[in-house]
């Protein structure tokens, strides 16, 4: 169904998922106005939040199945499968986060129902960001997301770490968003528009003006911060470390996804003609992220912090996926994000149930011999590690495979080699986890047993792991749909992959 996005009605239709979600958040706020004291209230609002995702999901389904597309050029928000996929991904991440939080907040005594409405606000921000067809929308969406995540990071008011995480995240974030904004300004100056499509059209002819180049550069800085790409990553370890674990998971899944999907849209729609400008930069950022993330992760004791660094490394992989600027590239980005999101959800879920009073002290030693006490948990954790490592049979491998294919298709073997070699390094910290849970003896009584696992978290982990395995063994549909979706991004008719048989 074609929608004219320039009319209020059209825009409203196109934005149904976001709107539905926002309304849900508002309702939740209202409920909280009366019910905000006890753990039951917190749980209640948690489930409400979960429920309020449903209409959004339904709206999304309608749009997607109905084959909604923009009449004429997309305006302010995109209306294509790539956006829908992005929204779906974000919804999944949000749902997962909420489920993980349910038990966690009670355990850590964080009884403040606003938490969930903030999560929902953040989610809608992410949706706007990932679906933005206009830099202003992107910026505002990003701000909505950031503002709520700043707060969520500092949500554990009893913990100085949480507060510090929030402050660091906020200061650097605001700083970075200034760069982003400056970039938007210069781009607007260069092209007289903030619409991605218009910018793309304006820049398509011949040499990109310096104004545009600088704008692009500043834009990359801003986004680079959001996705925690080296050298704009320094905040990530500390913030991941200090935030409440479900929030960390939210950052690793939702925020990262939104950031990369937004970035993908920018690069593919606004700058398909400027590849020679941004490809070297993206490549450099990717290599730096992969190398630094993986190497530094080697030296971490705390699991949570190790995962923080590994998320930097994965940002590197994702940048590598963006590099080719091809359909395969955007598809790989989507696919890898899906894989990474699911796996991270599971990992952080496991981490959150393993922890006690924060997870900063969950270390290899503390999970030694986990398999003896909690075989399934150990199994899930191992699967996640292998998936993060990109081991065949897991979703992670499919994602990595797609990335490698994308760069190889673009004749950029060097990047591919860097990817695999750094993956090898990552084996140096993923495998010890598997070893610890299976091959080492319990370190004693104080080891984390996670007595009485909260059921929602368990369900989340189980589902995520199941999908990770399933998609790893039968990747055909995942790959195919990702590539189809990718086809909708970027200037129409971007070259299809050689010999793709349908």
């Amino acid at each position: 169904m074609p929608l004219d996005l320039t009319t209020p009605l059209g825009a409203t239709m196109a934005l149904l998922p976001e709107i539905a979600l926002t309304l849900g958040a508002l309702v939740l706020l209202l409920v909280n106005a009366w019910r905000n004291g006890t753990a039951r209230d917190s749980r209640l609002s948690g489930y409400l939040a979960l429920v309020s995702l449903v209409p959004s999901a339904i709206a999304l389904g309608i749009l997607w199945m109905g084959g909604a597309r923009a009449e004429g050029p997309a305006y302010m928000v995109a209306l294509d499968p790539y956006r829908f996929a992005a929204l779906a991904l974000i919804l999944v991440a949000t749902a997962g986060t909420i489920l993980l939080s349910l038990g966690y907040l009670e355990r850590e005594g964080l009884i403040a129902p606003e938490y969930y409405s903030l999560v929902l606000f953040a989610a809608s921000g992410m949706m706007f960001m990932a679906g933005a067809e206009d830099l202003i929308v992107l910026f505002l969406g990003l701000e909505i997301m950031s503002v709520s995540v700043y707060v969520l990071a500092g949500f554990n008011r009893g913990s100085v770490f949480s507060a510090e995480a929030a402050l660091k995240y906020f200061l650097v974030g605001a700083f970075a968003s200034a760069f982003l904004l400056y970039g938007i300004a210069l781009l607007w100056g260069a092209t007289g528009s903030t619409g991605l499509a218009d910018i793309g059209a304006r820049l398509s002819g011949g040499e990109v003006p310096v104004l545009g180049k600088l704008g692009l550069g500043l834009l990359l800085i801003g986004m680079g911060f959001k996705v925690a790409a080296v050298p704009f990553h320094m905040w990530a370890p500390d913030v991941y470390d200090g935030s409440p674990t479900p929030v960390t998971g939210f950052m690793a899944t939702g925020v990262k996804a939104a950031g990369f999907l937004g970035l993908a849209r920018i690069l593919y729609e606004a700058f398909p003609a400027a590849t020679e400008v941004w490809q070297p930069v993206v490549a450099a950022l990717a290599v730096a992220s992969m190398v630094l993330g993986n190497f530094v992760a080697l030296s971490q004791r705390s699991l949570k912090r190790m995962l923080a660094y590994s998320s930097i490394a994965h940002a590197g992989y994702l940048l590598t996926a963006l590099w080719p600027g091809s359909r395969l590239g955007s598809g790989a980005t989507l696919l890898y994000l899906a894989a990474y999101t699911l796996t991270s959800l599971a990992v952080f879920g496991i981490l959150s149930v393993l922890g006690r009073g924060g997870e900063r002290d969950v270390t290899l030693d503390s999970i030694a011999g986990l398999a003896r006490r909690r075989p399934w948990l150990a199994f899930a954790l191992s699967v996640c590690m292998l998936s993060l490592l990109g081991f065949p049979g897991t979703f992670g491998f499919v994602g990595k495979w797609a990335i490698l294919a994308a760069v190889v298709e673009a004749k950029q073997v060097v990047l591919a080699v860097v990817v695999v070699l750094t993956s090898l390094v990552s084996a140096g910290y993923y495998l010890p986890v598997v070893m610890a849970v299976y091959m080492r003896e319990p370190a004693g009584s104080e080891s984390h047993s996670g007595a009485g696992l909260p059921r929602p978290a368990v369900i989340t982990v189980a589902l995520a792991v199941a999908i990770v395995l399933l998609a790893g063994i039968l990747p055909a549909s995942a790959l195919a749909s990702a590539m189809d979706t990718a086809g909708s991004l970027g200037p129409a008719g971007s070259a299809p992959i050689v010999g793709f048989r349908r």
Binding site: L386, F391, P392, G393, W401, L404, A405, V408, E409, V413, A416, V417, V420, L421, S423, L424, A427, G428, L431, P432, M435, Y438, M439, R440, P475, A476, L479, A480, M483, I497, V498, G499, F500, R501, R502
Partner: protein
């Protein structure tokens, strides 16, 4: 026999059954009571062997091409399919694997006492993985099996291994992965290069094989990536150091499978992929000389280092390095004899080294030490064990009439025409082999029985005899009447050489003129 097999449609389902059956077997092992785990595993592996034995008649090896091929779309958009096939070479490897597997289960019967279920699950999974590598005819599938096979072995070493098992396990994993990851990139690059030229993206073996020449300047790099992956697995000096650690730490069955099967994956990879895909590179003097050098170093070096090992398992491990050197030499000589010899060495090494590890394991179960110096004079207390040990050791030494000789003889005979010097040096390996094995033999079963603990050793039990029996039979059979095996290998070997003849032939293929003109 052949008619019977045809009548039950054997050739249509056997390969898939072989791949699936172990995984199916995993379920009862997991769900059944712990006590039943080993029995179930034994049952499954025996059935597997019986089924695979049918291949001996079912596979028509005369064309030398892949037989019993069947393909099923897996990721159609990417030209990836679940495709399997078998030829003379893989036939022997498959049979070797399926033969060793039940023996491994029997060999672990009392050795594994804790987490039995998991252990046998790992064994069965490993079986599927290994068979998959041998049977896959789609590079993606091949790679997946190649990697997946790592996990069970990793756990077998890491969970049921010795004191230093964690180090050994991760070393094994990382070494292997280091090679295979680069190979992954190479596979992709190859596929895309071919796709760019032919317009069809496909990972099917034959497709890539027939078009691999289009990669042009990329070939050396791709070959390098493949070769590295396989060289680490073989292992070729200097990538061999993971092997001793893995062998020493792994439980008996683990060592047996490592030596008996997993090492063959590397040489098999060279035979099946690395060399046929990039014959020009493989044939280039630079590469040839390098490989020859490493092979010869491996032979002599492995033997010398094995000689001075205080630990029996380490000794056997290094002997593997030495033996596999012969295989590399044979592959690069690329004459009919050398290729067949290489494969015979692969099989023979699988039997005799496997047997050696079993015997070491049996000693270990009795005395809980692998220290050679802890033994001596055993022939007095455990004559049967000593007899078996002697026979196996001699077969590994390459005593004519036993299996070891056939392979080494053919390899050297075939290679000498092509690379006289390398072969000459390699031949000294037979001396060193005798040196280290006989010395070990003497220190273990001969000399004075001066350790009190050894006086009460019990001789081989019936179960252990059952384990050794098939191996001994195989050793004798291969040594005395290898013709049937050779007959099945030959066409594939010839075809292999054909593929190399390509634009610039292998120097090995060209007929040599006598040293002195008439």
């Amino acid at each position: 026999m052949t008619q019977f097999l045809a009548s039950i449609g054997f050739d249509r389902w056997i390969l898939h059954v072989l791949l699936v059956l172990p995984l199916v077997g995993v379920i009862p092992v997991l769900l059944g009571p712990v006590a039943m785990a080993r029995r179930t595993a034994l049952f499954v592996t025996v059935v597997e062997f019986v089924l695979s034995a049918g291949l001996w008649w079912a596979v028509n090896t005369t064309p030398g091409t892949l037989q019993l091929t069947s393909s099923m779309a897996w990721i159609p958009a990417w030209g990836i399919s679940y495709a399997v096939g078998i030829d003379g070479i893989s036939l022997t490897m498959v049979l070797l694997t399926t033969l060793l597997m039940p023996l491994c289960v029997l060999g672990s019967w009392n050795y594994i006492t804790e987490r039995e279920r998991g252990y046998y699950v790992m064994l069965l999974t490993l079986l599927t993985g290994v068979l998959g590598v041998f049977l896959a005819t789609d590079l993606f599938l091949f790679y997946v099996f190649w990697e997946v096979m790592l996990i069970p072995m990793y756990f077998i070493i890491g969970m049921w291994g010795g004191k230093n098992r964690l180090y050994a396990a991760i070393k094994f994993f990382v070494f292997t992965m280091a090679g295979s990851l680069l190979m992954l990139v190479a596979i992709l690059a190859l596929a895309w290069a071919v796709a760019g030229r032919t317009g069809t993206l496909s990972f099917a073996y034959e497709h890539l094989l027939t078009n691999s020449h289009v990669v042009g300047g990329l070939a050396p790099w791709l070959f390098g990536a493949f070769a590295l992956a396989f060289a680490i697995k073989v292992p070729v000096f200097p990538f061999h150091t993971w092997l001793p650690d893995a062998h020493v730490e792994a439980p008996t069955a683990g060592s047996v499978l490592l030596a008996g099967v997993l090492l063959k994956l590397g040489t098999y990879g060279f035979l099946r992929y690395a060399v046929p895909f990039f014959p020009e590179v493989a044939a280039s003097p630079w590469v040839t000389n390098l490989v020859l050098l490493l092979a010869v170093i491996g032979i002599v070096y492995g033997a010398l280092v094995a000689m001075v090992q205080p630990d029996i398992k380490k000794l056997v491990a290094y002997s593997s390095v030495s033996h596999l050197g012969f295989v590399m030499l044979g592959i690069w000589a690329a004459t009919v004899q050398s290729i067949e010899g290489a494969i015979m060495v692969m099989i023979g090494h699988g039997l005799s080294t496997g047997a050696l590890f079993f015997l070491v394991g049996m000693l270990y179960e009795r005395r809980h030490t692998r220290d050679i110096s802890a033994y001596g004079g055993l022939a007095k207390v455990v004559p049967v064990f000593s007899l078996v040990f002697t026979v196996v050791a001699l077969s590994s030494v390459g005593l004519p009439g036993l299996n070891g000789f056939i392979g080494e003889f053919l390899v050297l005979l075939g290679s000498f025409r092509v690379h006289p010097w390398a072969t000459g040096i390699a031949t000294t390996g037979v001396i060193f082999a005798a040196a280290y094995l006989l010395w070990a033999l003497q220190r273990i079963i001969y000399n004075k029985l001066d350790k009190r603990e050894n006086e009460s050793l019990t001789d081989l039990s019936a179960r252990e005899l059952v384990v050794m029996g098939p191996l001994l039979l195989g050793i004798l059979w291969m040594g005395l009447y290898p013709a049937p095996i050779l007959r099945r290998i030959e066409p594939a070997a010839v075809r292999y050489i054909e593929t190399l003849r390509g634009p610039l032939g292998f120097q090995g293929v060209s007929q040599q003129t006598p040293v002195v003109p008439r």
